[in-house]
């Protein structure tokens, strides 16, 4: 009997040691960071930012990414997984805000602190929201194009995914800028779903219909790059194209003149700041409820900063953006 007890105690202590060695019981906190896909380099930037700041502040990160891009079913089951593993902090961006809100609310009620970043995830008691203003990005980049055109000309818009918060807000920004420029005429506004192939094909179609396009606004880099290809092969490579995001490939296109300008939607900064604010909040500091990181307009004049690979960038301090 005694030996069996001893053996059990031995077993328990081995398990306990194992648990203690696992990240959940290590010195630093465990952060569960959600991103939407492994396809868009933007989210690569978010993940790099989270990793860098977490390392700096002594926490460890578990990345949750659906294997199929923006797959809501997988996103939901990963949320449920987090409900069981109970990390110290969840950084959450929604794939479908409406569908995921109830699960997020339950997660928060059960005592897991959640910070909302990148995209707004509906109304729940989050630690804070860290992101950028898509409306403002859309407005700024549209104005950049219109000013470049001297306030007059014909433009087309390549929208994002209809019904997505990002796409709709950016479109609202484009429309607001259009209202301020009475001599800019909107020839067409068609969906390219943030995709490259659709950007190319929709642009090819619009070229057939309109011989007098003076400028193109795309809701994302991939669509803009597709559109620029279409314009180039139609012999209209001089038509200026602007977009939103600023992934390295697109910044290089700004450098070589294929794109005129990009409104910066900087995943790396969002990842850094969200992690810093979230960790400070769970360590008992008072943090702002809403941090909006301003986006620069990337042009040929200032593009070099965005050509640096994500892994080699340095996180900005959250304090830079607090109160803006």
């Amino acid at each position: 009997m005694k030996t069996r007890h001893l053996r059990r105690i031995g077993l328990i202590s081995v398990v306990a040691c194992g648990l203690a060695a696992s990240p959940a019981f290590a010195a630093g906190e465990v952060i569960a960071a959600f991103t939407k896909n492994q396809v868009d380099p933007h989210f690569e930037g978010v993940r790099a930012g989270v990793e860098q700041m977490a390392k700096k502040m002594g926490a460890t990160v578990r990345q949750y990414v659906p294997t199929k891009p923006n797959n809501i079913t997988e996103g939901m089951s990963q949320l449920e997984d987090v409900g069981v593993t109970k990390p110290n902090l969840v950084l959450f961006m929604p794939i479908d805000p409406k569908a995921q809100l109830p699960t997020i609310k339950r997660l928060i009620e059960s005592g897991t602190p959640v910070l909302n970043y990148n995209d707004k995830a509906g109304d729940a008691p989050y630690l804070a929201f860290v992101g950028q203003d898509d409306y403002k990005l859309g407005y700024d980049i549209a104005k950049t194009l219109f000013d470049h055109l001297g306030g007059k000309g014909n433009v087309v818009i390549l929208e994002g995914i209809k019904g997505s918060n990002t796409g709709d807000e950016r479109k609202r920004g484009f429309d607001a800028a259009l209202k301020e420029y009475p001599n800019i005429k909107l020839l067409a506004s068609q969906p390219a779903n943030f995709q490259r192939l659709l950007g190319l094909q929709v642009m090819e179609n619009l070229i057939q219909q309109f011989s007098d396009i003076n400028g193109v606004i795309a809701a994302a880099d991939a669509s803009a790059l597709g559109a620029a290809e279409a314009l180039k092969s139609a012999g209209r490579g001089n038509v200026p194209v602007v977009s939103i995001n600023g992934v390295p490939e697109a910044v290089e296109a700004v450098k070589n003149g294929s794109l005129l300008a990009i409104a910066e939607f900087n995943g790396f900064k969002i990842g850094c700041v969200a992690t810093e604010i979230g960790l400070k909040a769970i360590r008992g500091e008072v943090v702002p409820k809403r941090v909006v990181i301003p986006g620069a307009v990337i042009t040929k004049a200032n593009h070099t900063e965005w050509l640096v690979p994500y892994q080699q960038r340095t996180c900005p301090a959250a304090a830079e953006y607090v109160g803006q």
């Binding site: 199929k68 067409a188 090819e204 290809e229």
Partner: protein
């Protein structure tokens, strides 16, 4: 491959073609209807440029859907084509970038496509996994390898020599259209003029009968999946050459349109009937819809609805005509 040249018996040749011809007429009618409607509404539609534009856009969809058509006629299904395209595009783009040789990219793309197809065939024949599950599994495997390989990056910027393949012209006609016409013609000849082609129809219509009549069903099936994979590889090359970039999210959005092109083209999902000409028309119809919506500047909210309605109308028209023909 001596059987390739053997003409099929006349009776076997005419039997599945008769209702097929009708289906093709119905689709041409639908295309004509959309065409007439559009040319009256939009000045940009009925121009040579736009027609070439539509065909060039349809070519990518057709290439992906053509291999799928063969597989479906043979009684199978290939859900891995989109992911296969992604993987081949990423691998071949990387191969071209690192060697500077377009030929290396072509070899990698076609090899990768054929290998994924061969794996599908082995999973179905040897491991006895149903086609839906086997190819669904390969979808994830191919996609997964592409994610791992690319690590969130985009490979872009290729030499004009390679890009000619996707964006060049020959005799005033874009190269992708030539590729579509040549592969389409080869496929049509394969299906209707070779013994193996006829065997594919029989396999899809009644597998047990095909086995009993001595057709090496397993080998034929593997062949179909390899061809489907090769087509995905070829489509990947066209994609990279046209868009000048490869990223791991490009193929997935093509899977459902490819299935739709096959079905709108009149190929039965249950196997045993259908044609590549139908799939070509199906791909053109689907491309035409997006072209029309763009030209008429229809609001984004209506795009999915209109596409859905036209797909359903095409399938219903087919069913109605078939019923009429049977009476």
């Amino acid at each position: 491959m001596t059987t390739m040249d053997t003409p099929a018996p006349a009776s076997a040749r005419s039997q599945p073609l008769a209702p097929g011809t009708l289906a093709i007429v119905v689709r041409l009618g639908l295309i004509a209807c959309i065409g007439v409607l559009l040319s009256s509404l939009s000045p940009g539609f009925a121009t040579t440029d736009n027609l070439l534009n539509i065909l060039r856009q349809a070519s990518l969809l057709f290439l992906v859907a053509s291999g799928l058509t063969l597989v479906i006629i043979g009684g199978g299904l290939d859900l891995s084509i989109g992911a296969n395209l992604t993987l081949c595009a990423c691998l071949s783009a990387a191969a071209i970038k690192s060697t500077g040789q377009p030929a290396a990219g072509i070899v990698v793309a076609l090899g990768c496509g054929a290998l994924v197809g061969l794996t599908n065939g082995v999973l179905i024949n040897r491991v006895k996994i149903p086609p839906f599950l086997a190819t669904f599994g390969m979808l994830w495997v191919a996609q997964g390898i592409a994610y791992w390989f690319m690590a969130g990056q985009v490979v872009y910027g290729f030499s004009p020599a390679f890009r000619f393949f996707g964006s060049g012209f020959w005799l005033g006609i874009p190269l992708p259209i030539w590729v579509m016409l040549v592969t389409g013609a080869c496929g049509v000849i394969f299906l209707s003029r070779t013994t193996i082609g006829r065997e594919v129809y029989l396999m899809g219509a009644n597998e047990a009968a095909a086995v009993l009549s001595g057709i090496p069903v397993a080998r034929r099936r593997t062949l179909l999946y390899v061809v489907s994979g090769l087509m995905a590889g070829l489509a990947a090359l066209i994609y990279v050459a046209r868009l000048n970039a490869a990223e791991p999210g490009i193929g997935e959005p093509l899977l459902l349109p490819a299935i739709a092109a096959v079905l709108v083209g009149g190929t039965s999902l249950f196997g045993g009937s259908g044609s590549l000409v139908g799939t070509l028309l199906g791909a053109i119809i689907l491309t035409l819809i997006v072209n029309a919506l763009n030209l008429l500047n229809v609001s984004a909210s209506w795009h999915p609805f209109v596409t859905g309605v036209i797909v359903v109308v095409a399938v219903l028209a087919d069913a109605a005509v078939n019923r009429g023909a049977r009476r």
